[in-house]
Symmetry: C2
Subunit: 95 residues, 2 copies
């Protein structure tokens, strides 16, 4: 039983690292999108697009978490990405 617990914990550690890698991959994509939008004189943050992304995620969600929980986690992930873009913008202003 204890071996099974260790095995599940190893799996959990691996899942954590996969989530980490994807969050960082997401950050790089958001930065790239922000750069393109900036070069076109568009605002990086788009609440309509954020709403669409969230709707798409909720559509695909199957549990075990509740919708509200998934929504909350993704809002935190979106917020982090937004801060990353704003950091870039502040750097641009300082140059």
């Amino acid at each position: 039983m204890s071996n099974h617990l260790d095995q599940l914990r190893d799996e959990l550690d691996q899942v954590n690292i996969k989530i980490l890698d994807l969050i960082n991959e997401r950050g790089r994509l958001v930065k790239e999108i922000g750069d393109i939008k900036k070069s076109q004189g568009m605002k990086a943050y788009d609440p309509v697009r954020e709403r669409e992304m969230l709707d798409h995620i909720i559509d695909q969600h199957q549990g075990p978490f509740e919708y509200a929980t998934v929504k909350h986690i993704f809002k935190e992930i979106f917020k982090a990405a937004k801060e990353l873009q704003e950091g870039d913008y502040r750097e641009t202003l300082l140059v």
Copy 2:
């Protein structure tokens, strides 16, 4: 340029769904771990183990997000999983 933006947005949508799937996979693992611990009379929530998971994640982190941001997102993910285990525990009490 606009096509490139669309392509990056598609990639972002795909990354979102991969994150969603992993968060849910994580939820199922945490439930399974909680069930085993409960059957052994152990408390499901273990702050030492949570600290170890976080240290392991931070060790593997390479950016572009800051450590504090990654830590914050994972604390939200851990909190959701803890609530899932506690929900199970409440259900057990109600049976």
